[in-house]
């Protein structure tokens, strides 16, 4: 299911115009993006939580050529599945 299918399903279930359903879905994901971009945690009960993990930079090797490369410091969003979703998916 992609974003536009999600918008259609929401519009149908909640009797919304496509335009309004699109606004809801867009604001929903944008709020999460914004929080993560600010390094903030996101917690949605029953669904899951997001946090940003920090990874240190390190010197690595290109396994093919053996040459040393610098892997720079990075941040990566990390999603932990919530209890309800976890149980519903694992049947």
């Amino acid at each position: 299911m992609n974003k536009s299918q999600l918008i259609e399903a929401l519009a149908k279930d909640q009797d919304l115009t496509i335009k309004n359903a699109e606004l809801v879905v867009t604001h929903f994901f944008e709020s999460i993006e914004e929080a993560l971009a600010n390094g903030q945690r996101v917690e949605i009960r029953g669904f899951g939580s997001f946090k940003v993990k920090n990874y240190h930079g390190y010197k690595g090797r290109n396994p093919k050529t053996g040459s040393i490369i610098n892997v720079s410091q990075k941040r990566l969003p990390f999603f932990k599945v919530g209890k309800e979703l976890k149980e519903r998916v694992d049947v």
Partner: protein
Amino acid sequence: MALTKEKIIGTIYEKIGFSKSQSRDVVEQLLEIIKKALASEENILISGFGKFVVKRKRARRGRNPQTNKDLQLKARRVVVFKTSGVLRKKVNTGL
């Protein structure tokens, strides 16, 4: 402070002009649609954000690290999230 569902509902209320209770209903329904899809092994792909994918894990032998006892882990299904390149860039700006 963590972003919570309540705050997202507040944003929907302010930006779209739905009533508080309608804002709550649409957010709850949105989450329900996503959960239902994943429960039926349908992946969720949100471009620019990332994807939620259901993976089947095979049964494997494991060990309880506390008691050191061997145990059998059953086959199960889990949800994994893969961040889109666009969001990854956003999270890394200013680093």
